[in-house]
Symmetry: C2
Subunit: 285 residues, 2 copies
Amino acid sequence: MAASGFFFFLTKMKKKVAIQGIKGSFHHQVAQSCFGENVVLEECVSFREVITSVLDNTSQKAVMALENSIAGSILPNYTLIDNSNLQITGEFFLNIHMNLMGLPGQTIADIKEVHSHPIALLQCANFFNQYPQIKLVESSDTAITAKRIQEQQLKGIGALAGPAAAEIYNLAILADGVHTVKSNKTRFVILKAKDLAYDKENVNKASLRFELDDTPGSLATVLNVLNNCKLNLTKIQSIPVIETPFKYSFFVDVIFDKYKHFEKAKKLMEIMTTHFKVLGEYQQG
Amino acid sequence: MAASGFFFFLTKMKKKVAIQGIKGSFHHQVAQSCFGENVVLEECVSFREVITSVLDNTSQKAVMALENSIAGSILPNYTLIDNSNLQITGEFFLNIHMNLMGLPGQTIADIKEVHSHPIALLQCANFFNQYPQIKLVESSDTAITAKRIQEQQLKGIGALAGPAAAEIYNLAILADGVHTVKSNKTRFVILKAKDLAYDKENVNKASLRFELDDTPGSLATVLNVLNNCKLNLTKIQSIPVIETPFKYSFFVDVIFDKYKHFEKAKKLMEIMTTHFKVLGEYQQG
């Protein structure tokens, strides 16, 4: 490989964004919104593989769903971020729009099986109540069945995915907007390796994790301190620490006007809580 | 129908417990733990149907999963309880133990497809990473495939369910304890119609729902009040109110020693929050 080719190769490597799923998935849609139409994807079969891809430097960044208004927080992803020591460097809210799609010429009456991600199937459960003859089958990603239907020219099979999947894999939309809750937003975060510097100029949000003993008022005390430091909460989620009864861990998101306020709060939190950790500092999405 | 038969019928109806799923499911296991081995079940295909069964008086009680340590809070179930005005009258924590089962004589090498509830499939994802040839298929309940395998003598199909399912449907356990996180507890609640009186003597826990505007420190203020009233938090979960940006709803569980402390807190919460609601008062599980 010539030197210029090598550098081109390096640059290309550096720009890869790891997602769970393939082209046409909601993760792809978010990657395009954040990094441009022609973003180079590293398509992974699991969230665990997404993390590995950043840790071993195959990808420079990752896009990961963290919570939605139907299925709630995706706790395993919080744990993956926490354990891997990746940092959250941004967030993005996507309006989830689900279409039922199949080969051109097919109608809903032809469809015997619909394959999609389990959360997507949950999000459209009400729609499928009208079609008890359709079998719902779990797949690893929303777009993968769309691709398979096109490649293998599968009749009788439908995919449940976003509008982009129908376009990329040349499928017909058999039913548009089949998700139950119409204003269903999913929150995605952008992840990078911990030692990678990034622009903190516009930072006004942070994701924190800490543990508290089950002593009365311990959480109220922490929230008072955050409030005194002029930090405002946008999310709080308690999780029992499995190994230790009566101990709780908290995932908290805060927004702030001035970074120095957040810095003061961090110093206090380090003293007041155990296992305090900043999962990321970034600009509000 | 003779009068005695009619009363027997009535009594039997009254004792029905609605669950999502069928005999051998985890919901069945919890119903047995709470109401005895021979509990009469109303087997429902969805959580929505479980609620309807109590509302139309087909069942007197319901058992419903609310959260687990893998998938987090089951937010749609919170919403169902909230919207239906059923009350939580008890809770139960179940250790989830997953077995892979099939027809006697089969081995894992024979299995081409495993069917189970999407959350159950998630809970055992690591185990199935070793068997990429096995296709994971979503079903409405953990036990339903176990039943189907037995009834139709299905070879090549495995079910992922609790130990009770293997026993009830005479299946062989092909792999024992295939869940990833070994101390995976699921929290279930018992539900009754709102107007139904029940024994409140041992009440020391309550589930609350309220909304707060996104004004700085509003949550801290509420938690201070709960603390001043000697209530202790065991769970907190914020959910953005979809229709109203910057408004949050909270699901909070509190425990207390004296009911009068809780009564005082209720009066204060009614003034300090909007849409304040007690989802249930019960004895800690």
